[in-house]
């Protein structure tokens, strides 16, 4: 029992900033403007055609996205793993950078690529490509392509909470979304635990694999990035390619508001990612000697935010911390907390996976040499995990830099992140300026990832 006590701080963070807001969302779903109304909110929401459409669409998108990810993601990963070629590390780093891409801008990039005036208009319908990238909790893409036509349940949460201020209805949709996602996540865990996932790798020639990889990588990763870069220097874009190329957008992106937003984004990402790495490592290391049941519960609890849309995280924090005793709404802290909650399962996941592979004997031997548990932790267990911690920091940094779902619900005027600024620009139709700001965002993220990448091999060598 005493061993578990030291897990209190990270568990408290999860409970206070994730569990408690989620519980309040659940509670709020039973409360009307004039007090407790029982199931009335639920009856109203569940009876609405809009909600049912959103739910069905969300499920269909999730299934399609999963299928797309399985085909594309697994293939790309297998080529990187089993047919490495020169430059593969740079390509992996580029994939990391894509995480920092605000997801709604993927929609913009694909519109340039495959839309009505797109480069590859002919065979590929933009909807099909979008479907591959949409997943159940995706919010940014749907926000950009238009809430009117493609309402999904995270979008419905956003609309009800921020546009119509119908908090109870937003809470009902959020709860349904969480249950739905939770069930899918549980299914994933079950399949994973039972080893039902079957991976087949037929032996193909290295050249064919790499060529196919190049095509897929170009279509899915390079092309959208290139489109954004092209758009950032476009004066106009009425044909297949942009015209009247100009450096104006980039020049204004590196001065004024965009830079201020970039600094806010960088500060948010660094603070949130580092805190998430510390707490994630803490959670991963803590239950090593705990009973298997406790380990399973902690593992599930730490992964739970993964199954919750970022927009629901935002709603929960709004509901929970817009009042005393902890009034965070309107402060930068609520944005930092939201990013922390969103990043924590990722950092935990990376570090705990590494922790499971670590040989436990060095720590045991260190203890037998007379070192206290704290000394062993600091001098043996943590250093061995430094490469994983560095990797999780990179992941956290990239994710935080691109986070828009929760931030857009929570940001105060003095803490506007770059993705929010980019969205505001696109919302006003200034897509070229938005693209230029995105280039700045990607540049900042890449610089951060490269800096962490320099630390990583050193950590591994030590």
């Amino acid at each position: 029992m005493r061993r578990l006590l030291w897990l209190l701080p990270p568990v408290a963070v999860l409970v206070v900033f994730f569990g408690y807001p989620l519980a309040l969302v659940l509670h709020q779903s039973f409360v009307g403007d004039d007090g407790f109304v029982g199931l009335a909110n639920w009856e109203a929401v569940l009876a609405s055609a809009e909600f049912r459409r959103a739910l069905v669409r969300t499920a269909l998108l999730a299934v399609a996205a999963t299928a797309g990810c399985l085909v594309l993601g697994v293939f790309l990963a297998l080529v990187i793993a089993f047919a490495p070629f020169p430059g593969v590390r740079a390509i992996s780093r580029l994939v990391d950078v894509v995480l920092a891409f605000p997801s709604f801008l993927i929609a913009l990039a694909f519109t340039f690529l495959y839309g009505s005036a797109g480069v590859l208009n002919a065979a590929l319908a933009s909807g099909a490509c979008l479907t591959l990238l949409l997943c159940m909790n995706e919010f940014g893409i749907v926000l950009f392509v238009g809430a009117k036509d493609v309402i999904t349940s995270p979008m419905l949460v956003y609309t009800k909470a921020i546009v119509t201020f119908d908090y109870p209805a937003a809470c009902v949709v959020a709860v349904v979304n969480v249950v739905f996602s939770g069930a899918l996540y549980a299914l994933h865990r079950w399949v994973f635990a039972k080893g039902r996932a079957v991976l087949l790798w037929t032996r193909r020639s290295r050249a064919v694999a790499i060529a196919l990889f190049a095509v897929l990588f170009t279509v899915v990763v390079v092309a959208p990035l290139a489109m954004i870069v092209l758009a950032s220097v476009a004066g106009s874009w009425n044909g297949v390619l942009p015209s009247n190329l100009t450096g104006e957008h980039l020049a204004s992106a590196v001065s004024g508001d965009a830079v201020a937003s970039a600094v806010v984004s960088a500060q948010t990402a660094v603070i949130a990612a580092l805190t998430a790495v510390v707490l994630g490592t803490w959670l991963a290391l803590g239950p090593a000697k705990a009973p298997a049941g406790v380990r399973r519960v902690l593992d599930a609890a730490a992964h739970l935010p993964l199954a919750v849309p970022s927009v629901v995280v935002g709603l929960g924090l709004l509901v929970a911390f817009s009042r005393s005793p902890l009034l965070l709404n309107g402060t930068r802290w609520i944005v930092l907390v939201a990013h922390l909650v969103i990043l924590l399962p990722f950092t935990f996941s990376v570090v705990s996976a590494a922790q499971r592979r670590v040989d436990p004997l060095p720590a045991a031997v260190a203890e037998s040499l007379g070192a206290s548990a704290l000394h062993v932790l600091w001098r043996v267990r943590v250093p061995v995990l430094l490469p994983a911690m560095s990797a999780s920091a990179s992941l956290g940094l990239a994710l935080s830099m691109g986070e828009v779902g929760a931030t857009i619900m929570l940001y105060p005027p003095d803490w506007r992140t770059l993705p929010v600024s980019v969205f505001a620009l696109t919302d006003r139709g200034q897509v070229f300026a938005a693209s230029a700001s995105t280039v700045l965002l990607l540049g900042t993220t890449l610089a951060g990832l490269v800096a962490l990448g320099l630390v990583r091999p050193r950590a591994a060598e030590r």
């Binding site: 040989d359 031997v365 037998s368 040499l369 070192a371 001098r379 030590r462």
Partner: protein
């Protein structure tokens, strides 16, 4: 004399699995006790219970007469070397060796002196600034031993320390350990292995284990030459076990062959077998003078030949002979077995 290590009815259970049945053992200061047995015999479990890596389900562990059953590993003061060496990959050799001393807040000057001393003892003085990944298996093993010795432990626990090495290096390291052994006259060593060669070279006493139980314990030479249990005879020295009938206190019968063998100490009526080392089996062309057998297989082993034989009485037998002149696979041969082979209980 107070034993350096004492296990009293130590049992270890993992859920429903019994990893170690009540084990009673003691090791005197300066003595080397080998725990010998196949995989899953409980020997490493016993060692880890002594190290404190897990708490026994039952029984007590005493070190120097002090009950340490409830103490964590860092308060037992033992030196431990494991099969994988478990060196700290992010630390240089010197930092690995200094780890235990620094954890005990030993003054810096003394740490430096002691690190130099133990690295010299294991012949690794020139490698102090290398990382473990820059060392060979044998070098890593020496560093692991130096790290364990640095804290001057009264007891050194070695868990299959040579099993990750190739055969040539293993022999070299056995010689190194023997030299170390002579330089640490007061240190008790518990040595876990499944290799009888290491055991015979290094151990003062052997505890043979099987299926999480102690089978037999005794001085190395006595256990090798006069094992009481059939498992010991076959595991330590690869004896052939030939079921025999006791004729009287000094004679047994194998088929029509009468052999001198002492059955003293064996309970009457219990099934017994004759433990015959392969190198003591004689094989020659058939003349009807010995036990008739058929030669089933011949393996050349460099220094001699290993023969697999099938006695016409119905038992299989292995022999090791210097030459096989006139013998071929499938031929009928005469087998001779010397007197005074040990009689063992059949489990």
């Amino acid at each position: 004399m107070t034993p350096a290590v004492e296990l009293r009815e130590v049992a270890v259970h993992f859920g429903r699995t019994v990893a170690l049945h009540g084990l009673d053992l003691s090791v005197a200061p300066g003595e080397t006790l080998a725990l010998l047995g196949p995989s899953g015999s409980g020997k490493s479990t016993a060692l880890k219970a002594v190290a404190g890596f897990f708490r026994p389900t039952a029984g007590r562990v005493l070190l120097g007469g002090r009950d340490v059953t409830d103490l964590p590993p860092n308060r037992r003061g033992l030196g431990v070397v494991v099969q994988s060496y478990a060196l700290f990959p992010h630390m240089k050799v010197s930092d690995n060796v200094a780890f235990g001393l620094r954890a005990r807040r030993t003054p810096r000057r003394i740490v430096a002196e002691r690190v130099a001393e133990v690295l010299s003892l294991v012949g690794m003085s020139g490698f102090r600034d290398r990382y473990p990944r820059q060392l060979s298996g044998g070098q890593q093993q020496r560093v692991a031993i130096a790290r364990a010795l640095a804290i001057r432990p009264p007891v050194l626990l070695l868990d299959e320390p040579l099993s990750a090495l190739d055969a040539a290096l293993r022999e070299e390291m056995v010689a190194e350990l023997l030299r170390l052994r002579s330089e640490l006259p007061d240190t008790a060593i518990v040595y876990v292995t499944h290799d009888q060669g290491e055991v015979l070279a290094l151990a003062d006493r052997i505890a043979v284990m099987r299926d999480a139980r102690l089978v037999e314990v005794g001085p190395t030479s006595a256990l090798y030459h006069r094992p009481a249990e059939s498992f010991t005879a076959s595991f330590l020295g690869a004896s052939n076990l030939l079921p025999v009938e006791v004729v009287d206190a000094g004679t047994v019968r194998l088929g029509e062959l009468r052999l001198a063998a002492s059955s003293a100490g064996l309970p009457p009526g219990e099934p017994v077998a004759l433990g015959v080392r392969p190198h003591r089996v004689g094989v020659r062309e058939y003349s009807g003078a010995g036990l008739a057998a058929r030669l089933v297989a011949v393996q050349w082993r460099g220094t001699g030949f290993r023969l697999d034989l099938e006695l016409e009485l119905g038992h299989r037998l292995r022999a090791e002979v210097p030459a096989v002149d006139g013998l071929s696979v499938g031929s009928r041969v005469d087998v001779s077995i010397p007197d005074a082979c040990p009689l063992v209980r059949v489990a």
